[in-house]
Amino acid sequence: MAGAIEVHGLVKRYGALAAVDGIDFTVPAGSVFAFLGPNGAGKTTTVEILEGLRGRTEGTVSVLGLDPWTQGDELHRKIGVIPQDFHFFEKITPLEAIHYYRSLFHTRVDPQELLRVVELSDKANARFDTLSGGQKQKLGLALALTNDPEICFLDEPTTGLDPHARRSIWEVIRTQKREGRTVFLTTHYLEEAEILADQVAIINHGKIIASGTPSEIIRVHGQTERMRIEGSPELARYLAEKLGIAVAATDGHIEIELAGKRDALRILSAIDASGLPWESFSTRQDTLEDVFVRLVGAMDEGALQSGGSP
């Protein structure tokens, strides 16, 4: 797949501070790309550079083959953007807002259809200041789609929304992907990125510290899959002797690392054969959130340690 967005050696400095410090990534066309990072990591700066709202210090950036900074006007006709905490004219209705954008972009999109896509048809004639947070974000999403964009930049589109509203926005994002659009998503919700994204990049202190598909990142940076059994220390000792593997037992819980899927079957057979009492079992693998916390935490800890050393 061709890169809808290509970033090489991107640097953005504010005086001595490097908000973005030499990052590279490519977003394939038609994919959902999640750009993750803690507050102040350089996410918003990077996104604004990609949107043509901010210049760069060094590096090359190509969005749909255009330089966002020098060809911003042309680029803005091809992208849709929903910013964090979307605002609009308070007394204007969603229907009027879409008509407004339609006139500005000279498109023939059907406003009612667009409102149906974002599940806002019932609020078509409600004024913006009467909409809930989720409904406002949905309107932002609808406006971002008014010009039939090739890339949608969604900056924390579900922050502060209730679970139902979040899921309806997820569905819109999936629809965009199905229709071949590229979605560049920044979010604080790691679960959201794991569910929606084809590719993920994690940025911290202006540098990308991990990238790939969610499963690749978990595989490379996460811990091995583990089985957890509620059972006695006797059962733990039995399993260790019987299977010849490392078994950890704490507070009535037994935890065993699984080298492969068949290990789980061997453990269950051994438990059954032991005749010892047990309550329940489960297997658990690291989530993207576990990996994120570990990577960002380790980096910050390292930075603290190196900063604190003489």
Partner: protein, 377 residues
């Protein structure tokens, strides 16, 4: 400049405005209140008489009654009489103060006797001193009363000396082609006031507020240009100015029988005025970093113009240095231009004012478009 963009943005501005009760109040109701208020205060100016309290120590003599009759004929003063039995000449000043009377006149005892003695024998001259008490804080009433009393006294002196009046004063007439009252002069000023305040406060506010909440950033990602954004607002405020001016002039005419010329010559002012102050408002909002500082900047620009441009008081009443200040304020030329059109029909002066306002407007427009930023850097 894309007129489709301007039209779309204009519709948004219009809907936002028309759905805002506060904005509607200030556009449609406040002008009537303003005209009503100032009209009620000032419409009687020029016809109201100055009350003069008289202490007649000459015991209602014929000559003193004649003097009062002549004072009444001036149509400047209205006489009230203090009771000489309860007020003495020495206490009269404090009595006036206690009774909130700004002007008092004492006719001394012997007024008739001395005057008639002089009429009978001109060598028998014993001048009589009338004592007039005035309030320095009320210069207008004090001046009018002094002039009236002095004028009647001069008439008595002339008659007593056997002279004839050679130079007399015809009934006063007003400047311009018609007889104008204060409300007539006030209407162009208040229309100018409205042209200044509505766009200025609104543009300063929305420019900083929309930048703060990210709406301008959002619009920067559309094909709408800064110039189009500004032009659509100018177009809206021009429309609004026509409505507001119509309401104000209508209220002045129907409520206070104002006499102002409503001609096509007024149209350029109702166009260039909002053009000027929308651009200035956007410029002020652009240099402000926060909505709070924008409000301060807006007030610093607006308030001196509001009071020093001839809105409520004629600039000619100001001391010379303040008149110089007034002449650098753009609103001065807007109001002066409308005065020339609506009252004096002085087209050459109106044209000069128009050129000045247009030139300032163009400078502000270009500066606003250049300095206006969709978002904070």
């Amino acid at each position: 400049m894309n007129f489709r963009h301007i039209g779309a943005d204009y519709r948004i501005v219009a809907r936002s405005y028309l759905r805002n009760p506060v904005a509607l109040f200030f556009s449609l109701i406040f002008p009537i209140i303003l005209i009503g208020l100032f009209g009620a205060i000032f419409s009687a100016t020029g016809s109201a008489k100055v009350t003069v309290v008289v202490l007649n120590e000459d015991h209602n003599s014929f000559v003193s009654q004649e003097f009062f009759s002549e004072l009444n004929n001036t149509s400047i003063v209205s006489l009230q009489f203090a009771n000489p039995a309860t007020v003495s000449p020495t206490d009269f000043a404090s009595w006036l103060g206690q009774n909130s009377q700004p002007v008092g006149l004492v006719i001394p005892a012997g007024f008739e006797a001395n005057y008639t003695a002089y009429l009978q024998n001109h060598s028998n001259l014993h001048p009589v001193s009338l004592v007039l008490y005035t309030n320095p804080e009320d210069a207008a009433d004090s001046g009018a009363a002094t002039g009236a009393v002095q004028g009647v006294a001069n008439g008595f002196n002339l008659y007593g000396a056997g002279g004839q009046a050679v130079v007399t004063l015809a009934p006063p007439r007003n400047v311009g082609s018609q007889i104008y009252t204060y409300i007539d002069y006030l209407i162009p000023g208040l229309v100018g006031f409205s042209i200044l305040t509505s766009p200025m406060f609104s543009m300063v506010n929305i420019t900083s507020e929309y930048r703060k909440n990210g709406l301008l950033r959002q619009l920067s990602l559309t094909p709408l240009t800064r110039a189009e954004w500004l032009v659509s607002r100018i177009a809206w405020y021009i429309m609004l100015t026509f409505v507001t001016a119509g309401i104000m002039i209508g209220a002045g005419v129907f409520l206070f029988n104002a006499h102002v010329q409503i001609t096509l010559g007024l149209v350029p002012w109702l166009v260039v005025g909002p053009f000027l102050f929308v651009a200035l408002g956007m410029l002020a909002g652009s240099v402000a970093r926060t909505p709070e500082s924008a409000a301060v900047i807006g007030n610093i620009i607006t308030f001196p113009m509001m009071f020093l441009s001839g809105t409520f008081f004629a600039v000619s009443l100001f001391p010379p240095w303040l008149q110089t200040v007034a002449h650098v304020l753009p609103l001065y030329y807007v109001i002066d231009g409308m005065n020339q059109v609506m009252l004096f029909q002085n087209s050459s002066r109106a044209f000069f004012d128009f050129v000045v306002v247009l030139a300032i407007s163009l400078v502000f427009f270009v500066a606003a478009v250049r300095l206006f930023k969709w978002r904070d850097e």
